[in-house]
Amino acid sequence: MRSVVCDSAAEDLLASYGKTNKLAVGLLIGQIVENGKDFIVHLAKTPHSEQNKIEETTEELSNIADIKNSLVAEHALNAIRMIVGGFNILGLFVVSEANIMSDNSALQKLKTVLMDIKSTLDSNGILYANTDEQDNGDKLVLNYITSHKNYICKTISTDPSKATSPSPVDFKFVSKGIDWYEFETIYEIDTAFPLLHSNNHFDTEKYIMATIDDIAGNLAKSIMFFNGDPQSIDTTVEKFIKDGSGDSSKVKVTIYSEAFQAPLTASKNGILTPHESLVYYTGIVASRIYGSPRSTIAEIEKFILNDIIRSITTRLQIYYDALLANDDGGNDNDEDQDVNSTIPPRRVFFHPVNSPISFCDYLFQNENEETTVKQSMDILGVDLDSSDVDISAEAVAQLKVLEKCDSPGICEETVNLTTNDSGKLILILGIIGLVIALIVSVALHFLLK
């Protein structure tokens, strides 16, 4: 039987949802530990009833059948982007008056919700959100029954060919959770990938997202040092901490990789042709992940890989979402162009007071900690102070100045330069204006004399 433990603070949270809502549904966020107990570290209620952008959902949720699958799935996508690697959405919690485990239609509905979450997460780039390999597609459903102040947890298979009947789970609230160990690293990318050429943002996005696969492949072959030393992959975190001399509360990880090998198109006789389009990455991805004492170094390495790739996928998706939103917005007004969406957002971390782990968010250049405070409330239900947000992990992305801009059209896609250039243009126009004004005034001065 699957074993799951959850911090007892979550029980109070469920009870409080029960007081204000007739029915509440939300995400179970946690880590699956191979051959061990799974941990739930956070419960995130899906905003069904509160003031939400989507107007038709303002009514109070009262019936399982009323749950909007798309809303929960979208919530899951937004949430996974804020969850660091190694943690995932393990299932749903449902706060209800009656026990839903015996209600077949409710279970059937929850199965479709879980399937929709899965398909949404699967279709949004490499997020490593799919845990089928570890849980066989069996997702947790934690039901808190307000009438009895009782809870029950079971799994439902998301495999459409399998019956909906839930399987039992050994679920416990524990007052003292386990000791999580934090592993911190940065991953620098300074490399070019050949890209199919297109003038269409949608295509370019698709081609760029495809390069993340190559980055993941390279990362998978990397060597990681922990607090400065290589470790054998079957060492457990517990043993590593015990034997180690470094800081055990925060383990520093260093990544060493072979250089990327782009699939190059040399002709048979070795002649290299210029690539019509190349994407050139620079800068770092800051990463923080958490491992339990029973995790092995191999698992930790996998979590780090998942975290870095999830972070790259997320920030590029957010970047393109913003870019495309502006594109559609209208070409009528240049002022409208959100200049800050022209650089991918950077990652920030925050550590909620009652949480054992940190979460993350992505900020564009014009956004600040307040954006994260709001985002964490909306998505995770976490009340933050802006001082809780750590913006030091990554600095604002630097502009890479291209050396060549010798023919028209070459810079049109160089998104970074457009902001710079328009700024310069304004400056130049201003100076020209001033000079003309000066000439005119001097001329007038002499003419009127």
Binding site: P230, Q261, N269, G270, T273, S277, V285, R346, K404
Partner: protein, 575 residues
Amino acid sequence: MTANLQISQLVVNRLKNLKDVCGGGLFGLMYSKNLIIMGFDLESSDILNFKKMQDNFPTETDLCGLFKFGECSDTEAHMQEILACVDITDNPILLKCSHKGDEFELKASQYRNGKLVEIEYEVISEEILYRQFFYARLLGYVEIAIDNNVKSIKNEFLNVRKKLASGNVIFQCQDHRIFFDTDKVIGLNQEAVMLDLLDVLKVKKQDEGKKSKKEQIPTDFTTININCLIKKSDENEKNSRAALNFVLERNRILIPIKIDAIAALHINTKTMALYDILVESLCRTLRLVEENVLEQTEKVSVPSTFHFKPDNFGHFYTCIYADSTPDDEKHLTSKRRELHQQLGIALTRPVFRRSNNYNFSVTNSSLLVNPHVGLKSSVIGGKQSLVQGKYTYHHYMQDNFNDDGWGCAYRSLQTLCSWFRFQGYSSTKVPNHEEIQRYLVKVGDKPSNFINSRQWIGSMEVSTCLHGFMNVDSRIMHVTSGSELASKGSELAYHFESQGTPIMIGGGVLAHTILGVDFNSNTGELKFLILDPHFTGSDDLQIVQNKGWCGWKNSSFWDKTAYYNLCMPQRPIMF
């Protein structure tokens, strides 16, 4: 403090054989309190060669002085310039060479405070050279994006070199958890020297290998492979921690560069010193690649690295060739000609063709290379004339192919082919039995049912195939009986001295390979160094040598009643 001077025996031998030469630069290696001269180049009148050749020598092998013959005005003129370029020592070396009749005289002096002081030197034998020095081969990969113009190429290569040289890489002993970082060695004692490292790497090999393999007298340098990894988590201040960003660029060429660089090392060098040496290796090879890319006209093609170790040289020499340029292309041929001249190598043998590329992996192959090394002959007053260069031992039952009883001449032919491959005359792979049979059918020598048969071939067929596969002509020597071979001492000795190729002998009976003769021209006593293809066991040197599968044989080895044909391959004149 001035260093003790040592000179490689191979350098002395090469200097001795130079004719009509004024002088040139000396390349050497500093270690502990010694300076050992490993190689040299020849300087002619106008241009100074050593400057552009420096990067082609292994890392740590640097210009350290000059040598000259007699009183050559050219060299006098260059001397000051060469001396000014010596970086690795404050006391450059001058070797004065002279031929006095048959005698060769070599005197060494050293510049100390602007004055020449004659010094003693020690000649280091080949065996000691191979025992005390080894090479680290650095392997890795980088890609450099360029616009196809000189400025961009220079800029981008400079940027990459800067980045790699600023602590952005770490080195790993291939297949071992031993790492070399800027300030520490991981997986070894911080005080460890290279010998300790070699021990660690070797212990592992012995564990894996079969027991009781006889240790061969070293005939070459040990090489260790080191991987170059890029640091992705560089925490130092240079890193601004700027978040991930990207730009789209257009019409750039991505050049794939397989890093393959070698550094010469002494066993007593501290492993701590390796990081800086390997970084210099990286930079050297990138400078060579850059030079190659700049030389390429119009279209850029993939630059590939080739390491050459000419016979009796005692050091490597590295060249980068563009993949699109074939060996026989005019420009490349003329570059090779120059190189032969600059290094004092006759234009009669291939040395810097792609197929001469040093085969680092040969020791990993199960085939025995030169199994005759270490065997002793006992002809009193005899002179040994042996096969020159390398070959592999091919015999019955190899490649999971049962040719017991009929394949001996095929195997002997394979050994001959391997020799031509090793020596760079051909890059064609050693043919198997079926390929040999197909070729003989194709040229009309055999009927079509010969393919996949178990029929023998003889010396004539071997000669035909050598021509077909390796483009090599052979001389056929016919003897009417085995006893006649006893009178062929001078002729065979001459073959091994002038051609140095292995000989296939067949005829009425079994086929063998002759690798050399030991001949006393006064007494007429003669022994043959035989490589026997009828061996069916595993490739264990001890068995092969002790049981005489490779060994010295008397004339009585040959059948007195049978006739023999000897296929004596002739080296093509090429370079």
